[in-house]
Structures are given as C-alpha cells and as structure tokens.
Subunit: 392 residues, 2 copies
C-alpha cells in the first residue's frame, strides 16, 4: 500500500510537471497531452437536471441513502435505454450503480477472485488495471499488443495466456490508450476462443467489458454490444467521459441474465462492493443519470482534434493506427524507445505519456481531449522533435 | 464475497419488512426505528452552495477530476475549520477526501494491515466494521461491552485484547448504537493503556477515530478531539450525519502530523484508496464542503426525539443508558434476549434492531432520527410490549 501511495503514475507526474513548467515558461509554451480528462463540458441537460432535482425534491430524498444497488428510477432509466439500444432485455435488477468504473471493475474482480485466480488484460491497457487486479486477490496476465495489426487482438497469444485459473479477460473498447475499437470480427474470434477454453477448463471465463468510452466512437464505427456476442460478459460503465462527469464518480456494473451464474456473480459483486465501503453511489448523480440516461455527448470537438492531430503527425512521419474511438492516439516512438522520446519531447515542454505502463514501451499516448488552440501551437514542436530524431 | 452479498444486514431486512408491512396494514400502523438515516434536511447552505457552484464555475472545473486527495479549496477549508476548533494545526496536506467514512476506514485498515494484523473494536460497534476489517487483511477483535457502566470502555478487558499484532483500535464516539459519548477520562485511560502496550510491543498502535457523529452531541457534552489526547490517531469523518448527506458519499481521512510515521501512514492510506478504485471523492460535493466546512446541523429535532423517547421508555420500565450523542438509544431487552424481544415487537409492527450484530445480544437499538409524530404513535406499543413481557 505504501508503494502504491508513493509511486506516482507517470501520467500524473507529467501533468504536474506541466503545471510547474507553465509557471516558468508561460502556459502558452507548454503542450500538455498527458491527461484523459474530458475537454468538453457536460451536456446542458446535466446541470439543468441537478438544479431541477434540487428544486423539485425534498432534501432527504435527494441526499439520503439509496439502496446499495442504486435508486429505482436510475436503474429503470438505464435498463430501458440499454434494452432499447442493444436489443437485449436488461432489467433494472441487472444493474448496480457504483462510484465510477474503477470500483465497478474492482468489485467484479474481487467477486471472481477465487484462490489462484488469473485475470487477463490485453495490451495496450489502462495502467491502473494492474493494481486493481493484483491488490484484489488475482494474478495479472498480459496478452502482448497487436502492434502490427492496428491494436486488435493477437488471438494465438491470448490463447497461450488462458489457463485453468483464468477467471476473466478485461476488454476495453474503445481502447485507452490506442483509441481503437475492436471489430465485430475480432470480438467473435475472441468469444470463440474463450468459449472453447471454458469448455476445456470446465468453468466459465468472463469478459469484463470496461466501457467508459462506449459512446465515444467516430466515423459511425460500430461498438458491438459484447453480451450479444459472448453471453458471459459483465459490463462496467462510467459517465466520466460520456457525460463529462469524471469527478462525480458515477457508473454501474451490469450483469446480464445471459451470463453464467448471473445471480451469483451479481451477489458476489455486491458483496465485494460492500468490502470496498460502497453504500450507494453518489445520490444526486444517480438522480441526474435517471433523467439523462439517453443523453449522448456532442463529439464534434474530439473528432476534429483527432483528425487534425492524426493528419499532421502522420504527415510529419509519425506512425499511428488511426483511432476511431475514445480520445487518444497511440503513436510509435521514433527511435523505438518511448521513454527516451518522451523525455526528448518533454525538454521542449511537449508532454506525451510513454507507453511502458500501458504494456507497449515503444509507443506513446497522445490525449486528444485538449484545446484545438493548443494543438495548433504544438504542431511545430511535434515536427521539430521527429526531425531532430531523423537528423541524429 | 457471495456470502457478503447474499446475507443481508438485519437492519436493512427490518427496514424493508417495514415497507412491505406498510403496504398491508397502512403506513400509520408501522413504527420503524430501524435505520440510521438523517431525518432533518441538509442545512439550506448546502443546496444554495450547489446551485451557486453550478452558476459560478464552468462545467469542467465543477465535474472534472480533482487530485486524488481532494480539491485544494476543500482541503484548505476543512483544515482551517479543524485548526480553529481544536487548537491543533491541521494542514490541508493531512487531509484526504473520500466517498464517505466507510472507504475512509477501509483505506486506513488496509494501510495498517501488515501480515497477521489485528484491529480491535469496542462493543457495541457498527456491524459493518467486521466485514470492513476481515475482508481487508486483518483480524477483527472485540472488546466486550461495558453494559453496566453506561457503555464507556472496560479497560481491563481491552488490555486483554491487545497483542503484539494489534495495529489499531477503532473508537466510535458519539457511538452507534449506544448514543453514548466517551468521556475525556475514559479516553485518557484508553490512551495510557495503548501507549503502554505500544512501548511494550515496540510499535505504534493507532486509534482509528470513526467520527461521523462528531457534531451530534447534546446537553453541551464534550466530544474530545482524540489526537490531542492520543497523538497516534487517524480520523475518519463523514458529512452523512452532520450535513444530512448520507447518499452523497463525502468525508475524509485526517492523518495529523503528531501521529507516528504520519507521512508513511498517509501515503499507505492513499495507496490503499487506489486499490479501492478511489480516484477522487465526488467533486461537486467536495466544492460544497469547501463552502460549508463551518456549517453545523440544527440538532433541536433530534434532541427532542431523544428526550421524549428516553423519558417515555424509562417510565415504562425499560433500562437504557441516557444517550448524549448521535441519534440512537441502546435499550436492555426485557427478558434478556433482544432477538426474541425484537420479534415480539415486530409482530406489533414496532421495528427495533436486536443488538447481536453490534456485539450486545441483550440490547436493542432504537433510531431516534424519525418523525416526532411516529414517536407519539409508537409509545403505546412500546408500553404494550413490555407489559406483555411482564405478564408472562
């Protein structure tokens, strides 16, 4: 715990370095692409709902405890929205509201973490998965990244990672850090491989679908609904990105009826949430979600950033799988060592997260949830760094 | 995890039974004293602050991530308030905002849970302490209740519970379920015993001060500030009761500078919070606390309930230590078996929580955070049950 509390994430370190540098060289001379913090405001309906709730309802019903699983109207609204969108009946009882996707994920991992359990993650992956899994009773197993195939999934490598101890595979699509969405074909192959392994090992292997970026898809790319492809799926969702509410800590777990031992998995997840000190998710935000369950973000700003950065960077010679989701690009580091490249960029106040902690030490992450104006200012610097590398 | 998710707390079961019975016999014929849910609204300053924050600040700064430890202005406001009230300098850096007291407690337990660690709790205690401790790496040790001395602390019994593995003692005053506040004298004796044991065992023993009821004290009873009596104290606080915000999940850990290895304990607690999926406490509520750190509840309604119930019940022959804090009374069960007595009361739709899970199977808890009107309706039923017992 002390190590986890003293070792900072490299993302946070870069971000805070940027704040300090801004004080020295001026904010306009720092190009910070470190954080995955939404740069578009919450849809107007969110704050309007909050004010209306405070006006219409009495204090005790707004700020009081909800049931641990969530307020009835919030669960009903989300269940109806999911059912309508994905053609599979999701009942309010399948849902359990949580303080964001992180405790959702951890509750599911804890629920599945029998003695010797292994949880598989596919590189590149969100670095916090590692402490989430390792500090909650399971072994963290990494499938090497599909760096040559545009960050889909290397199935042969994945199959080599499956053992009789495999309890779950975390699937994060749209992906942080690659911005890539797994295709329906990729997911169908994954499903077939997991199904075969589950039969072989004689117990279910769950997909934990970590979906905070579900609504952030561009070019009308499909984000397949995983339970319809692989029934033994548990969804962890967050409104952090879709409603730009990362600080408010509101999300949910969905254990669909089709999942093996659905009721038991749900109950064990609820029990695990109890051991995390979960009493109920923040109540005012639950009531807000009840009114905003069908509100979708306006993605135009993210989409424009993505296009501008992708076009510019590839024209300078950077190599990058075109992202069609989330708000990240994952770029091959010129020279092959992302830490060295990131340090070189940092010397010019261009802050890029090296991919080591994401399981890809030769790539760096560019967050595209930034101001268009900063992107414009940063382009000459991106160009200068790669030219410098080429001239070495 | 499955057991924790399927075994309901007896408090929740009673509460839900009450809701079902209300549908059958009418709401006016059910007397529900089960839940510890505030019955007074949040102070007006709370909702006024929320509306002002939404009006004055932009969406990203209201709903965005704060640092994991909390927003700078929230930490500063609380530190200033604590420093002013308790004559000990509390710096913003001593504070770590959490989603209520439960994850605060669990983070501290996880931080201290070295191999073989024991955490001591003093009966009567909040039942969730047990899963909080047992599911987070430590052994749960119970000091028997001081049922004859008005629910202070039996020091000789406590000393018998201290071993070389004792890492912490949870102190909850004002107490749930007894409503009693430990006196300065009790706490000084506790401090002396722990200090001697710490010297004997060669390592600090921490007090974890669980203080959601700190502001709920009547008759001007002192609630001593524990770090001033016993330096190795870590405070877990919640605004659930003081600002009537239980659903909003906002509280903090305070590791004062005087605590042994203060910086390391703080860092390990922060690391533990990370393993619970804590990113930041709900941001809008943090900003609200920044404006309401010095707001105190109006206790008149709770105080009146307490007096009416205490006077009536003791006049009927019930035995009860007079509560001077929180919003509970802990009453000796006529006949000696609280479960049997609770069942008998339940048959008359009078819902009282038997004390077994609190570590006192011969007492029952009466929540006094209810409507005065329900109290009046309930008094003849309280009288009838004890008379029935006497007539047996």
């Amino acid at each position: 715990m002390l190590a986890l509390g003293t070792t900072r994430s490299c993302i946070r370190e870069l971000f805070e370095y940027g704040l300090r540098q801004a004080a020295v060289v001026g904010k306009e001379n720092v190009y910070d692409f470190s954080l995955g913090n939404p740069s578009i405001p919450a849809p107007a309906a969110v704050n309007e709902s909050i004010v209306a709730i405070l006006r219409e309802r009495d204090s005790l019903s707004v700020h009081g405890y909800t049931p641990a699983a969530g307020a009835a109207d919030a669960r009903a609204a989300v269940a109806a929205d999911l059912t309508e969108r994905f053609g599979m009946t999701i009942r309010p009882e399948n849902l359990f509201f949580t303080a964001g996707a992180a405790p959702a994920l951890i509750s599911v991992v804890r629920a599945l973490a029998v003695e010797g359990a292994e949880v598989v993650s596919i590189a590149p992956f969100f670095p916090e998965y590692r402490p989430f899994v390792e500090a909650n009773g399971a072994k963290f197993v990494v499938v090497p990244a599909d760096t040559k195939g545009g960050f889909q999934i290397r199935l042969a490598e994945l199959e080599r990672c499956l053992t009789p101890h495999t309890q779950a595979v975390i699937v994060n699509s749209p992906n942080n850090p690659s911005g890539v969405i797994y295709t329906r074909e990729t997911l169908q192959k994954l499903a077939a491989a997991l199904k075969a392994a589950a039969v072989r090992f004689g117990h279910p292997i769950y997909i934990i679908a970590d979906e905070p970026y579900r609504e952030l898809a561009y070019d009308e790319t499909e984000v397949p609904f995983l339970p319809a492809i692989y029934p033994d799926t548990v969804i962890c969702y967050s409104y952090s990105k879709s409603l730009s509410l990362p600080g408010e800590r509101i999300g949910y777990v969905c254990v669909p009826d089709c999942a093996a031992d659905s009721a038991e998995v749900y109950a064990a997840m609820a029990g695990a949430a109890r051991t995390l000190g979960h009493v109920c998710a923040p109540s005012l935000q639950q009531l807000t979600v009840a009114r905003c369950a069908a509100v979708r973000p306006d993605l135009e700003a993210y989409d424009r950033n993505r296009t501008v950065l992708y076009d510019a960077l590839t024209s300078y010679g950077y190599e990058c799988a075109k992202p069609n989701g989330a708000f990240y690009m994952f770029v091959k580091a010129p020279g092959g060592d992302a830490q060295a490249f990131s340090d070189r960029a940092k010397a010019k106040n261009l802050l890029l997260v090296p991919g080591g902690d994401f399981g890809c030490p030769d790539f760096f992450r560019v967050s595209t949830c930034v101001s268009p104006e900063m992107i414009q200012r940063s382009l000459p610097v991106f160009r200068a760094v790669i030219e410098e590398m080429a001239a070495r």
